[in-house]
């Protein structure tokens, strides 16, 4: 191989290596890009900001239809808690305000920090399901053996398309004690 070709090879290899490094960065750039797409509602994801801190809006109550809202409570992996909703399901008219109480208890003898993350099925519902008050997303501190009653107040926007008759709202509690201690 002549010197000339060898130099060309090394130069090209360097350029291609740079491309590879840039693509590694691109993988990480997908993280903020994903957040932006979620914000634009290209991808449905419920965020802490979606909980309205504003006074209740009085919607025209749609008495002609009823939507069944089901509540699911899950514990992530082996989170040592008790967690349930006071009702398994609720029939509501769009535009009507309701409060549902959730019950959570720390089963351990130590203080713990936990966080509940909501999820909807079908996912597109999240934009019509307006929460006025919720325990989700924020870190909840429990003393040893402490039990809490946590209310969730919501309304279904009457703009909800007709075809959705059942909504499932699932909460998963994550044990965040370790992570919040290290922070």
């Amino acid at each position: 191989m002549s010197k000339d070709v060898a130099n060309k090879n090394i130069k090209l290899a360097r350029t291609l290596l740079l491309v590879a490094v840039a693509m590694f960065g691109f993988g990480y750039a997908l993280v903020p890009l994903y957040d932006v797409l979620c914000e634009w509602k290209w991808i449905e994801r419920d965020r802490p900001d979606d909980i309205k801190k504003v006074p209740e809006v009085a919607y025209q109550i749609d008495r002609n239809r009823e939507v069944t809202v089901e509540f699911m409570t899950t514990l992530n992996e082996s989170t040592p808690m008790k967690f349930r909703a006071e009702k398994k399901q609720l029939k509501v008219h769009p535009g009507e305000y309701h409060t549902v109480n959730f019950y959570a208890e720390n089963k351990t003898d130590n203080a713990m920090v936990a966080r509940a993350i909501p999820s909807f099925s079908p996912a597109v519902i999240s934009r019509y399901f307006e929460k006025i008050e919720c325990f989700c997303f924020s870190e909840q501190t429990f003393k040893a053996k402490e039990a809490k009653i946590m209310p969730m107040r919501f309304v279904i926007n009457p703009a909800l398309p007709e075809q959705y008759k059942t909504i499932t709202l699932s909460y998963t509690f994550f044990d965040n004690t370790e992570k919040s201690v290290k922070k």
Binding site: M1, V5, K8, N9, I10, L12, A13, L16, L17, V19, A20, V21, M23, F24, G25, F26, G27, Y28, L30, V31, Y34, C38, K41, W42, I43, E44, R45, P48, N76, E77, R115, I117, P122, A123, V124, F137, T172, F174, D175, N176, K179, K182, K183
Partner: protein
Amino acid sequence: MSAVVAEHDHHDHGPAKGLLRWIITTNHKDIGTLYLLFALAMFFVGGAMAMVIRAELFEPGLQFVDPAFFNSMTTMHALVMVFGAVMPAFVGLANWMIPMMIGAPDMALPRMNNMSFWLLVAGVLLLASTLLMEGGAPASGWTLYPPLVLQTGKALPFAIFSVHLLGISSIMGAINIIATIFNMRAPAMTLMKMPMFVWTWLITAFLLIAIMPVFAGAVTMLLTDKFFQTSFFDAAGGGDPVLYQHIFWFFGHPEVYVMILPTFGVASTIIPVFARKPLFGYSSMVYATAAIAFLSFIVWAHHMFTVGMPIAGELYFMYATMLIAIPTGVKVFNWTATMWKGSMTFETPMLFSIAFVVLFTMGGFTGLMMSIAPVDFQYHDTYFIVAHFHYTLVPASVFILMAAGYFWLPKWTGHMYNERIGQLHFWLSAISVNILFFPQHFLGLAGMPRRIPDYAIQFADWNMISSIGGFIFGASQLLFLYIVVDTIRGGTGEKVTDEVWEDASKHSLEWTLSSPPPYHSFTTPPTSIPTEHI
């Protein structure tokens, strides 16, 4: 031509003596051989894992292995076959054939070539070592989805570092291939005269450079989520597991084309030789390959139709995916047109290639079915998916690798393989592969989920048939092992000519060299380029 060969034979400083030759070699043929033998070994390791899976699924209920180990087997089978067998086998072919096909003496960056092979071995050994660790090997499926994958035991960081090593190895291999093709071609070898195998590998190499770092990034995020308190995918910390799926499939979809594009290249090389006709539509083949590569970057979420997307997203990914059928259809049409009115003969490499065209098309059609978003909700995560991607990988990529083996073994070794055993291997493989995978379509449509060690008794009959096909297919591959060993050791004893196959030297440069070729391929660039492939 032979005068040129004889002349530089004397200048050659041949291979180093002894076993050390294989460790320190920078020769493209030695490294190609190492890659191919390693891939063959991993094909049997991954195959043995598949046999465990099929044995467990032979009957409903749990018979042989516990469910966690079963899940490790499905995961490791996939990882070993993708990263240890199919990809290295094609890199091995690239190492052997590209310098000979473009009239170069060797690869552009020979030392890096050696390093990328040994990093591959290190990566696969690291991955294999997780089988012995506390908590077992990764068992979350080859996609390594969080949060499930984060429950892996001690093996998690080792599996992740193994992915890093395999990624670095692939990227170095890809850089080497691009540099070789761009800088080392004989002066008369213009881009649009390059054999299709070289073209498909050039495009594949760009795919690899673009996607392997993204995968490395995704698994690094898994690593930091698990050990360094980040929350990329951890919902409790504000992350989102669905994000992982987007990043993974941004890598994952082009990755499956990394395994199929060189397959297309080899098929486009073999079919014209045995049809005794030029390849039909050479330039449309080049453009179709490039189009498929481009489309592979913009269709990833069709793997995720059921995770929740706005309707516009479902529609976009559905239509974009369907578009892939067009350039792929062009290719299938061109292969068929190449055979049309050709003076065909049916030696083993041609048989495997024809089976590839037929069976790959079937895999493509089931892919088209799954691209339809609303019906994909039925197929998602069922055996229908398993049947689909095995049709595009086993009777496509693996069959073409077999075809390549039969096609070039006489060139590589100077010996002829045993045609009767080759034909037997083909027929056993072609029949059993369909007994193995065709029933899985029915199982999937009836609702049998993937990655489960036990199933409802309604699925019993087809699973048993599928397992029987699997055992026949697995056993048949031992014939290939026998043929490889036998051919290296002298084969039929028949003296092979330089061009081996009738008029092959009109198609591509490697057939103008001696069989076996000299240690350094073309020390002086060839002046005339065969153009029959165009």
